[in-house]
Amino acid sequence: MAIDQKDMAVTPGDRSGGDAASLLVASSGRRTDRLFRSVALVAGLLVLAILGLIAASTTHEAWPAFRSEGLSFVTSSTWIPAEGKFGALAFIYGTVLSSLLALVLAVPVSLGIALYANEAAPSRIRRPIIYVMDLLAAIPSVVYGLWGFIVLAPFLGPHVYAPINDAVGGWPVIGWFLNGSSGRSFMTAGIILAIMITPIITSLSREVIATVPRAQREAAYGMGATRWEMIRLAVLPWGRGGIVGAIMLGLGRAMGETIAVALVIGSQAGQITTHLFEAGDSMAAVIVNQFGEASGTHRAALVGLGVVLFLVTIIVNVSARSVVARFDRRAQGF
């Protein structure tokens, strides 16, 4: 729209140029060209500006909490707003644990779908699979949260977690993890997150797998390999870097997810436990649950959680993108 108007505004000037004025017109055209380029550049630089502003403004807002807590903001797990204690370690733990659970659940499924869609499925099935993934990705996270809160969590607690806990909760090693019976728990958060990141990991992995050169596949088949052997020998080694990148992007998405996790993780502060079926809390969930009522240092501490979350997801994303970028270069160079 904006571009159209600009175009129209300049057009008459362009047309009016006779021979005598051609030099002038040419230079005004060049000026417009430079102007256009600058405007486009500014729009591109906006990305860098916004990222910088996010870091600066949130850190500034969170400063009172960082100053009063110091390092214990990330090393203490005592979060008692009423007493002015803000240790976020348990929330960091909850974010990491629920996201890792999501990866454990989502990666095998995502890779299975990606390999099936790209390597094994007949074309009449391939298209519906892609649609299903599109729809999974399109459902807003709050809708997954609603379903998780009202349907999934109340079902899982008594009907899945409790029986498992009764059966193996006392065993060594396994019992350390499969313990507890809270419907809203780390595990439920992991399951909901897994559903949400599966389409992301699948579609990125598919892009990677699609770049495997046909010659490699044919070579494997030519040597008498089964389909699985071909996948293992030709597809997976080739795509490893890209798939790792895809998984890391999924991890980044899971760590930042807020609403769905806030609804199903159980909102229990201070929980650092290996018991997957117990309630806990994550950074993003704490922010959204407590922000409305918070003020002063409490509010600053919540913004501080946002800063930590921002840093962590930036690190994960930068590493993921670097892995993918390296892979891309190799793919294009081939």
Binding site: I80, P81, A82, E83, F149, I150, A153, P154, G157, P158, S181, S182, G183, R184, G266, S267, Q268, A269, A279, N289, Q290, G292, E293, S295
Partner: protein
Amino acid sequence: MRSSRKPLALLIAILAIFGVVAAACGGSKSDSDAKPDTSYDYASLSGTLNGSGATFPKAFYEESIAGFAGVAKGVTVNYNGVGSGQGKKDLAAGTSDWAGTDSLVADADKATFKGPFLYFPTVAAPITVSYNLSGVKTLNLSAATLAKIFSGSVTSWDDPAIAADNAGTTLPSTKITVAVRSDGSGTTSNFSKFLAAAAPDAFTLTAGDTVAWPSAQSAKGNAGVAAIVKSTNGSIGYVDLSDAVASGLTFASIGNKDGKFVQPTLEGASAALAGATINADLTYSALNASGADAYPITAGTYIIVYSSITSPTQASAIRGWINYVLTEGQTIAPDVDFAPLPTSLRDKAIAQIAQIQG
């Protein structure tokens, strides 16, 4: 439904007012300060009254707002249930016109307000101890047992302490899930103050708007806690009666000062209010009240407004709104499971409306 109930409610209100006026006249022959409801000119009021605060009386205020909108067409009243703590802050900051709160303004915070303010008690209600334990339909809890559960020293439903309160009931070994408020709340304040008063030895935490519960799932608002209790087997939480009834929760009977186990009911709340001492600023505490029928966790709730308001129109609207809450609103209260004020306290509150200047 609604249209048929309203005239009835109005009739009751009118009769109640006549009763009050008659009683006042008959008793002392002096003029009553209470303005008769029938003559109150709601229609001429105008403006927008933004309120925020406690979620405990939210259902009552929402119903009153809906009723008030019917008689005062020029006034829009809003109420945002953000917790007592935030409600008081909003009023102090001037971002709201009235605050709903279950707890009083701390002396230290009074300086943050822009001027002198007034407390108007509106309704009272029992805070239920709601639980969800399959197979257990009735449950008795003494104050000491309750304090142990919420302090984290009793963690399983078959604990001897609970069994001692419930002779003859078979209790499962289910783990107790404690559900509490994540936001600063007058409900938390009243509940924890009751535990501190009634079971000082067993309650090891510090009472207040927010309490550092050792091991508990938390949620926003009374409704949020009710949602956890409703969906979690083995859970227990404190929820106001109105939200608990509307969510179909089961309540424990709580041991009162006289050693009786009492279910949370409006009658139990009224019995508790009857014995409470009213302070000069109309504040009171009905917690752990004595009386055989008194429900011990009964909390009052207040509207706070500034006593001096710059705009006369706005002041009239506020006076009208509070008058409505204290007259017709009182007849709506039982519909949403709130106990109306005792007549004596209500009359004092209505008389105080005249102190709102502007």
